[in-house]
């Protein structure tokens, strides 16, 4: 069974070729997407937005 390899402490190799070799043909995030996932100002904004979305669902469930 194939598995991505990596150097110590770094994220595993992320390339489309390796993903496709295992026959999964998975969509992989771009560098920009990965950056945005942990970019603090953007994530503070997302924190507020996700909470609002969740509150909306909770409100719908109670009414």
């Amino acid at each position: 069974m194939e598995v991505s390899t990596q150097s110590e402490g770094k994220p595993p190799a992320r390339d489309v070729w390796k993903a496709s070799q295992s026959g999964k043909f998975a969509t992989l995030p771009t560098g920009w997407t990965r950056f945005c996932r942990i970019f603090l100002p953007y994530q503070i904004w997302r924190f507020a937005m996700i909470n609002l979305k969740m509150l909306r669902i909770i409100w719908k469930g109670h009414h």
Binding site: M1, E2, V3, S4, T5, Q6, S7, E8, G9, K10, P11, P12, A13, R14, A19, S22, K24, A26, T27, L28, P29, C36, R37, I38, L40, Q43, I44, R46, F47, I50, N51, K53, M54, L55, R56, I57, I58, K60, G61, H62
Partner: protein
């Protein structure tokens, strides 16, 4: 005076007891029966199982909380329900058996006017030979002690990897009929993050194994998210997450047996396979807890109250219609037993009318498909609604029973994918409704304007926030009732 008895102190039972006590006057009694003396905030067991959180942070003693709130507490297991009472005394009652060290095994009858069955699942490790931490060869995170054991085993593997050995981690479901894939998913991605943190990721191979037809099914038939101009199935979302992190996956699998360091499994195409592992965290299938019911004459009437899998029948359509014919309206709304109108079942204890994921059978005749999840947010909401209905009845209000159909409510789920305040991430998912309604939403069964998911650091912060908020709520601290379910 009315007596409300709640069997179980998990998310749904504890919520029902807390609200019933809050809404009822002191002339009425609320009693909780639970075989364990503690409450466990199960979603955070994932972090205990990775070694990021000690067990004591996810459990607390129930007795002092209930004493303060005015809830009677019995540390005992429910043995039988007697909804018609006895010939000489027609008051319904439950028989419980103490699990306290001092009185272990002693039985007692508790009379009730209203009964809520919130007993949760029986962890059926025995369904797969060799599965589970009790005499088996795999680990679990279903309870806080299981999670602690998993964390210790992870430390052993980490030491081996530091010495240069390669280790294979097998994570997923340990039987073809499992549910709760979400918990195993969280464990797999958290494990990967933690191994990177411990600087041994390059020595680890992480393999996901599950009974899902496709990744991202989660027992809900998957879900569809609006992303980049497309309505994208959760399969794409989940595969991406796994591929990015270098996780391999095996789906459509029924684990047949676990031996020391080796799992045998069958796939939907009838294939027989085996995989070696150094560490296996495989969740068990669930059934209802072994609880019997007897009529006034002492005859066994368990089949009137319970489905074959041991879960309690409620106001759902159990006619067994073909999968293609089921409707959202088949799902229960009030959780009242059709046999006895003062008996309810909440959380995992109620019998779902049908699978949400397409049932599938292997070429060898083995059923390999996830069963519906009924944990977390919906469990708490159902517990609260049933408590409200009972309070309305006790107070003599002539109002319709309160309703909480899983086909009419949404759920918010945050699956941790790495615990660090600056570099961690979590998948935040919102799904509406939980049970697809193809009459209202013909294309995907769900409202794609409300069903939503994204991965990011914000999700990790929300996960931390939820951990503290829900423990605050469960401990009935000031303002607990303001924390939404």
């Amino acid at each position: 005076m009315a007596r409300v008895v709640i069997l179980g102190a998990g998310v749904s039972g504890h919520t029902a007891a807390s609200f019933a006590r809050r809404w009822l006057g002191p002339e009425h009694s609320v009693t909780v029966v639970s075989p364990k003396p503690t409450y466990n905030w199960i979603p955070s067991n994932i972090w205990v199982g990775i070694g990021l959180m000690p067990e004591r942070k996810v459990v607390f003693d129930l007795a002092p909380i209930y004493a303060k709130a005015g809830i009677e507490f019995h540390q005992a297991a429910a043995v039988s329900i007697h909804p018609e009472g006895r010939a000489e005394d027609r008051s319904p009652f439950v028989t419980i058996e103490s699990t306290e060290a001092a009185t272990k095994g002693k039985t007692q009858d508790l009379r009730y006017d209203y009964l809520i069955n919130a007993t949760g699942p029986k962890l059926k490790f025995e369904a797969t030979p060799g599965l589970g931490p009790h005499g088996g060869h795999s680990l679990s995170v279903c309870t806080e002690s299981h999670a602690t054991e998993a964390a210790k085993a992870l430390d052993v593997c980490t030491e081996r990897m530091r010495r240069g050995e390669r280790q294979r981690f097998l994570i997923g479901t340990g039987h073809g009929s499992c549910t709760c894939q979400g918990a195993a998913f969280e464990y797999a991605v958290n494990l990967e993050f933690e191994l990177r943190k411990r600087k041994v990721r390059d020595k680890a191979e992480i393999v996901w194994i599950s009974n899902e037809y496709e990744l991202g099914d989660f027992g809900m038939g998957g879900l569809h998210l609006k992303r980049g101009g497309y309505v994208t199935p959760s399969k794409i979302f989940t595969e991406s997450l796994f591929a990015e992190r270098g996780l391999e996956w095996i789906t459509r699998a029924h684990v047949q047996e676990v031996q020391p360091g080796r799992a045998f499994y069958e796939t939907l195409d009838g294939g027989q396979h085996q995989i070696d592992f150094d560490f296996a965290m495989l969740l068990p299938p669930f059934s209802g807890v072994p609880l019997k019911a007897f009529d006034r004459a002492g005859e066994d009437i368990s089949d009137r109250l319970f489905a074959k899998n041991g879960f309690m029948k409620v106001d759902a359509d159990y006619s067994g219609k073909p999968f293609e014919k089921w409707k959202a309206s088949d799902w229960p709304r009030t959780y009242q037993s059709p046999a006895f109108d003062n008996v309810y079942a909440v959380g995992i204890a109620f019998a779902p009318p049908h699978a949400i994921s397409q049932p599938r059978t292997s070429a060898r005749g083995t059923s390999i498909s996830p069963t519906p999840p009924r944990t977390g947010q919906p469990s708490a909401m159902i517990g609260k609604v049933v408590a409200g209905t009972i309070v309305d009845r006790i107070q003599g209000k002539s109002v319709a029973p309160r309703a909480a159909s899983m086909a009419e409510m949404g759920a918010a789920c945050v699956a941790s994918a790495g615990a660090n305040p600056f570099t961690g991430t979590a998948a935040s998912m919102v799904v509406y409704p939980i049970v697809p309604d193809f009459e209202r939403f013909p294309q995907t069964g769900r409202d794609t304007n409300l069903t939503y998911g994204e991965i990011g650091l914000a999700g990790h912060w929300i996960k931390i926030l939820l951990h503290h908020m829900f423990l605050h709520k469960a401990k009935l601290r000031p303002g607990w009732q303001l924390v939404p379910e």
